[in-house]
Amino acid sequence: SSSTGGDDATQGGTTSGGGSDAVLTIGMPNGTLSENQNPLAPTGSAAKSLGYAWVIYESLMQVNDLHPLDDPTPWLATAVDWNDDYTVATVTARDGVSWSDGEPFTAEDIAFTFNLLIDFPALNADFPEQLVSATADGSTATITFSRSEYVNQVKLDKTVIVPEHIWADVEDPVTYTDTEPVGTGPYLLDSWTPQAATLVPNPDYWGGEPQVAKLQYSSYNDNNALITALTTGEAQWGWTFIADYENVYIAQDPEHFHQAAGGGFGVDVLFLNNETKPFNDVAFRKALNMVVDRAQISQLAGSGVWPGITSVTGMPMPSGEDYLASEYAGEEYTVDVDGAKQLLTDAGYTWDGSGALLDPDGEKVSFELTNPAGWNDYLTALDLIRQAAEQLGAEASVVPANQDAWFNDIIPLGNFQASLHWTDGGATPWNMYSNMMDGAQYVPLGETASWNFGRYSNDEVTQALAEFAGASDDASRQAAIEVVQKHYVEDVPAMVIWARPSVAQYSTQNYTGFPSDEDPYANPQPTGPQAAQIVMKLTPTQD
């Protein structure tokens, strides 16, 4: 009675005409899963990894990652108010919401959920050791933190709420698999198999009955299988990296197939080891920065999926526009080999007869670019950076590393010269900059660093980052971030290569209303609290 297989002819349209009873298949490349609907578990939850947790359970607010400074859309909470130093949040619960078993939703549930996080640190991935207490009073819940959570507001907004009347009896919510989930969301779990979870609309949903007749969350073993499913129309919504997506995906059905990118501050950074040759010399870092062609890398290595960074501040646009220091407005990266060479000459570099670059000590400049073997886009990017370095006469080589070794020894201990790594997303550029250059994260080479792998240390920056996180007014925050930007540009402690926005592919064959470049109302991926918001916007395609 539904969609399968690779032939789009039988998809949607013919089955239902208007499409109102067509299934919307959401695909994820997660392999085989076990039944686990726990929306709080940090790992192992099929509901979370496939994404259907977010249409069963709902978050307090809907945040648009693309425009993090926009006011969040009220969702289960009609309002979240912070005190001035961002240590206490007051959450107002929506009225008239009921759990799918009929019990009413109250602020008690909100307080209960946060207390769960306090009681079970294993569930508490977002605010480790920061949560102090959560109480409910009438229609509001008050959550107290031990420090300023300005940069973590989004995390609070995105916290999903579980019903107290059920979870209070759960002995160990960490290992609770929640096989009969009771949520407030627009959908109810209908059936579960290791390959797919099927959900049907919640007729009593507070936001009105959703229009998609059925959601089917399918799990594929790997990206390729998912890509095949997406290109054949078997899955209509999902996200994966599709090399040359224009041809591979969109061209299959240009009218219906779309790829949309969300914003956010997720970027991939070439960490440079600031404490070893050759990157201990700011001149060389700058020179390299000048010859790297980010547009080409984005196009060839990132297949155009990952937008190249244009702003010299490293911030992805348009998300970063609100934070951009005025002095860098409009300043864009350009490839300038001659300028770079000039810079090097000024700093005392020379070239030998064969054109090899010699540092001021007269040694040949050479370095290794390290990344785990098999990381296709990273390695291609490194390859292109290697070629760029060669334009300067520096000898670079791409060294594929063992993934585990990279994780455990190479990156945290600083055993590399240059390596690509991601940064935390976050709603502000703080995470991105902090991850790259926060002195608070500095540890000497050979010790385990959790960020700032390049060992950049600048008290001014450290100070500014701390200020940004703890400040209570926008002006001081802006001032602080501008300091950071300035040092990023001048010191080149690391090189942001491309942005890694949330990307999603979807087909409008049966339903329309997904976030698009024209209407970027939410992160387009199905795996996040925004899923509830998106499915509520979907309507059957009218042909």
């Binding site: 297989g5 940090p42 790992t43 192992g44 294993a122 698999t177 198999t193 499913a229």
Partner: protein, 326 residues
């Protein structure tokens, strides 16, 4: 009796050694489940979650490896394989139970088909050696010489994407709930056809070759000539005399092959997104999911051991010469 006891002890020791290696191997891998999880998410999971997860998996307290080993055996003897990290908190046994039947079903049937087909064809060419049928051999070896994934991907590109005859991935229609209905069975068959077909294609030549060589060897045995001399119908000579004896070593390889089925064909499961234990194990390795890895290893190891024993038994059953001693 003594022989049986000796074999029994032999198998026990093998099992013990294999289980121990299975225990030690994952622990020799650098890295840990949490790092792997973070690596996989590439920024999707906040790095501050690391400690929470470590806590969750109980990786925060260190037990000596020896202690872990003793505990492991303790649990194992109670049939408890622990809890999977990857699919936390589902017990490993459940995770495996969910994949195993699919692997065993598909690969099993494919192996049986491949064996049957290969043996029949091998019987034919072995008997008619020197005719055109011999030309079939190099052709079939082509398919066993190409890497399986290559064959599988091309099959998908051809039969699923281009022609749309078969679904490209999955074990059955994802909108269905496993049940004993004809529709579901039909779906399982439809989804299994392409994977099974490629498995057969890539493995059949081994069976053909084995059977052919045995047929050639057996055909020159006197009893086959005697059967001809008796004027038996050709069919009964070929089947009852030549093939019946030629199949003996073939059967014991087949039994072993059945043991290896449980190991699944990782690549097949990968290429066809088929749920199965091979891919499960692969995922477990990638995620440093020690308990799941050990569980898979254990199941696979035991299956092969059992198959080994079955091969001993089958031989005894099929070959009366080994049955009796005196």
């Amino acid at each position: 009796m003594r022989f049986v006891v000796r074999r029994g002890i032999f198998y026990l020791i093998t099992a013990w050694a294999a289980v121990t290696i299975n225990f030690v191997l994952p622990r020799l891998m650098p890295g840990d489940p949490v790092a792997a999880l973070l690596a996989k998410s590439q920024g999707q999971i906040d790095s501050s979650a690391e400690d929470a997860i470590r806590l969750l998996f109980g990786l925060d307290q260190d037990a000596s490896i020896w202690q872990q080993y003793v505990d492991y055996w303790g649990l194992l003897l109670h049939g408890n394989l622990g809890v999977s990290f990857m699919n936390f908190p589902t017990p490993v046994t459940e995770v495996i139970a969910q994949s195993l039947p699919w692997t065993v079903g598909l690969v099993g049937i494919a192996t049986v088909i491949s064996f049957t087909l290969g043996t029949l064809v091998g019987m034919g060419i072995g008997w008619r050696r020197g005719t055109w049928a011999d030309g079939l051999l190099p052709a079939t070896t082509f398919f066993s010489a190409v890497p399986y994934f290559w064959l599988g991907l091309i099959a998908i590109a051809l039969f699923s994407v281009t022609l749309g005859w078969f679904p490209a991935s999955g074990s059955y229609d994802r909108s269905m709930i496993p049940a004993l209905t004809p529709e579901f069975a039909g779906s399982v068959i439809r989804y299994g056809t392409l994977p099974a077909f490629t498995i057969v294609l890539s493995s059949v030549s081994g069976w053909i070759l084995g059977m052919r060589n045995m047929m050639v060897t057996v055909s020159s045995e006197d009893y086959v000539t005697v059967a001809q001399a008796k004027g038996l119908p050709e069919r009964s000579v070929v089947v009852g005399y030549a093939a019946r004896n030629a199949i003996l070593p073939q059967m014991s390889s087949f039994t072993l092959a059945l043991g290896f089925i449980v190991g699944g064909t990782l690549i097949m499961e990968m290429v066809f997104s088929y749920q199965g234990i091979g891919f499960l194990l692969y995922q477990a390795v990638g995620n440093h999911d020690y308990p799941l890895m050990q569980g898979c290893f254990l199941v696979i190891t035991l299956a092969v051991l059992v198959a080994n024993m079955a091969a001993d038994v089958i031989y005894a059953v099929l070959d009366p010469r080994t049955r009796q001693e005196g």
